[in-house]
């Protein structure tokens, strides 16, 4: 059971870790100072949450494992984040749409995690949900602003929503470890969140005068450790310091 629990923790934590890294790449590069500060603030919140999960996972693991080992020294296949969060920043529309599609899921997950039988997860969820509600507000506002903005902004955000939509179904995929932990009453059964997720997201897209994509084919793999081609480059950047100077501390 312990092993499944640790895998379950990786799954949740890695989403925040990899998305936090993507947002961190924008430090000093966002389109305006306010947006730059907002995106890096969100990144910081996500990293803070990751630390809580990894400190807990390290406690539950055998041997002398630290939160840094978990963040920086696993191989690509050992990261269990969804494909959505590893997609590159590309342009502002991608950054916002990726955030928007994740935040709405994250909010539902944190709401449900407060009912877990595990006290630590409940504490992390209660703390995180306050932060995530700010993230969701920020990304939803931008979706509306871009969708209901100029012809150019509308067309570009629509294109990206269409493009990233294929990654949304994976958010509700469960692994074997997830299923085992759902049975224990510890994990959130994300399959149950799907309907309300699409309802919430679609509502905002409609307010933003955007079309809800109709798609039959979705991509998945990240939760099982099978990532897109972007993941290796991201990890290369993120792990460089720890691999070059093993055991380095701030």
């Amino acid at each position: 059971m312990n092993n499944n629990f640790i895998k379950y923790l990786y799954g949740i934590a890695d989403n925040s870790l990899i998305l936090g890294q993507r947002l961190g790449e924008l430090t000093g590069h966002a389109p305006s100072l306010e947006v730059d500060i907002a995106l890096t603030n969100i990144s910081l919140d996500l990293f803070g949450q990751v630390r809580s999960y990894f400190q807990y996972a390290a406690q539950l693991s055998e041997g002398d494992i630290t939160e840094d080992d978990l963040a920086f020294l696993r191989t690509e296949r050992e990261y269990l984040n969804v494909l959505l969060v590893e997609q590159p920043n590309t342009d502002f529309a991608y950054t916002i749409a990726r955030q928007f599609l994740f935040d709405h899921f994250h909010m539902l997950l944190m709401t449900e995690m407060q009912k877990s039988k595990d006290e630590t997860l409940v504490a992390i969820a209660k703390k995180s949900i306050k932060e995530v509600s700010y993230h969701k507000r920020f990304s939803s506002d931008w979706i509306k602003r871009l969708g209901d903005g100029t012809e150019e902004s509308k067309q570009r955000i629509q294109k990206v929503v269409n493009d990233l939509w294929r990654f949304t179904d994976e958010l509700f995929h469960t692994t074997e470890a997830d299923e085992a932990m759902i049975k224990e009453g510890i994990a959130v059964d994300v399959k149950m969140l799907k309907e309300v997720y699409y309802k919430n997201v679609n509502e905002i897209l409609e307010t933003a005068t955007l079309e809800v994509p109709e798609l039959k084919y979705f991509q998945k793999g990240g939760k099982e450790g099978i990532h897109s081609e972007h993941m290796g480059f991201l990890l290369n950047d993120m792990q460089y310091m720890q691999r070059t100077y093993p055991g380095m501390k701030w």
Partner: protein, 166 residues
């Protein structure tokens, strides 16, 4: 507002009161409400602190500052980080709110007013410089995770607003 009972040992209290928040140095960590318990047994002190935001980089510094402030008075301190119950802006004391305002940071409004302010629906955040409420939101995210950025349309000064967190 909810009043949380916090046990702070009375010998340790004046020492902890002198430890400032590293990012808002006018604010004592006691007035910020991050110290959740301070126990003294012999010369060993155990202090429990809780983060304002998960990623708050000040927490490690606060822990170190507590250890060194207590060491100066001859106490051996151990600092534990706890997550539950989650910190709330309601835990900022009256003295803390006043210190924020004097420093130029608008203190948090209560929850529903805060929402209206951050959505730009109502002009209710008071400029800490000229006290006018003729202010507008520049960004929901400010110089640190706990603040939003506002500008006063009366005196033209930009200022930070400490976001409500319940």
């Amino acid at each position: 507002m909810t009043e949380e009972k916090v046990h702070i040992n009375e010998v340790l209290e004046p020492i902890l009161r002198e430890v400032p928040d590293p990012e808002i140095p006018v604010l004592s960590i006691l007035d910020l409400g991050v110290v959740r318990e301070a126990i003294l047994e012999g010369n060993k002190a155990t202090i429990k602190i809780t983060p304002t935001y998960s990623g708050c980089p000040a927490m490690d510094v606060i822990g170190d500052d507590i250890v060194s402030a207590l060491a100066k008075e001859g106490y051996e301190a151990k600092v534990d980080l706890i997550l539950a119950p989650a910190w709330s802006t309601n835990w900022i004391t009256e003295r803390g709110r006043k210190a924020l305002e004097d420093y130029g940071i608008a203190a948090p409004l209560e929850e529903s007013a805060d929402k209206k302010a951050l959505l730009g629906e109502e002009k209710i955040v008071k400029c800490p410089q000229c006290k006018s409420t003729n202010t507008h939101l520049v960004s929901q995210f400010g110089s640190t995770a706990c603040k939003a950025l506002f500008k006063c349309d009366n005196c033209e000064e930009p200022f930070d607003y400490f976001k409500c967190l319940i």
